[in-house]
């Protein structure tokens, strides 16, 4: 079970309090009607699914109720950082080579 730092609560809580809601920074096209089927399909379904660092969203559903973002390593499952919704992903030191 992961331990997650909620950037709103500023405390580390058990994963049980959270819900993962998928990839972060996928913005809804501002004018959907001008998009092509391919673009809309991309928005709906295409995901980076990286092996390594992922930008993802979590909901502190059984806590403060806030959605927030996280950078996590999908190999070790360790969080690099968490940050509030609307904030840009923080500049990250490049991934250390093993």
């Amino acid at each position: 079970m992961l331990l997650i730092l909620c950037p709103y609560c500023q405390s580390r809580r058990a994963e049980l309090e959270f819900r993962n809601v998928g990839a972060a920074h996928i913005s809804r096209p501002s004018d959907p009607q001008t998009t092509t089927d391919a673009q809309w399909g991309e928005f709906l379904y295409q995901r980076d699914n990286p092996k390594g660092r992922i930008a993802e969203r979590w909901l502190h559903i059984h806590g403060c109720g806030r959605y927030f973002n996280a950078i996590r390593d999908t190999i070790s499952d360790v969080f690099v950082t968490t940050y509030k919704s609307g904030e840009p992903p923080p500049a990250m030191p490049s991934e250390a080579k093993p």
Partner: protein, 176 residues
């Protein structure tokens, strides 16, 4: 079942409101409510008898989310006061008096019983007096507020009340 001086009691009927508001409105609300609303998240404040559900209570459970809890009889009055004071403010005040039920868990094994279902650390350093937060208790969500070292106020959604009571009763078997 082992004897324990720890008791789970039902809180009396209460009036409860959810207030969603920014800092400025919060201050206004505090002024008429007669109790400053907590500034930091996951904090509870109360006026009146500490530890007694009769007191006027304000809990900050989200960045802009407050629970205001008062004895049932004071509910209408508080609502009217707030409605007047907050008229024109961009905020939301919703009556949730009956949405949830309250409990008081008190006694030396209170934290142990909570730990049977809740992953929070109830050590005083990690969960000091006055801290209030939502979390999970086994398969339900609950709100737990520490009023004294071994006194906790708990709120759960109305239909989850029996489950919570039953799980605490189960956990008592484990006070060995």
């Amino acid at each position: 079942m082992p004897d324990s001086a720890t008791m789970l009691t039902n809180a009396p009927p209460l009036a409860r409101f959810v207030l969603r508001a920014d800092a400025e409105t919060t201050i206004k609300a505090g002024a008429v409510y007669g109790l400053d609303l907590p500034l930091t998240i996951n904090q509870g404040a109360s006026k009146g008898e500490r530890g007694k559900p009769g007191a006027r209570v304000a809990l900050k459970l989200g960045p802009d989310e407050f629970w205001l809890i008062v004895p049932e009889a004071e509910g209408a009055g508080v609502r009217a006061l707030l409605d007047t004071a907050l008229a024109g403010c961009v905020c939301a005040l919703v009556d949730v008096s009956h949405r949830q039920v309250g409990f008081v868990l008190s006694g030396p094994d209170a934290a142990t019983l909570l730990s049977s279902g809740c992953p929070l650390d109830f050590d005083l350093r990690a969960f000091p007096l006055g801290m209030a937060t939502r979390s999970v208790f086994d398969k339900i969500e609950f709100m737990v507020w520490r009023m004294a070292q071994d006194v906790f106020r708990i709120e759960v959604a109305r239909s989850f009340g029996p489950y919570f009571e039953a799980m605490i009763a189960e956990a008592r078997h484990d006070l060995v």
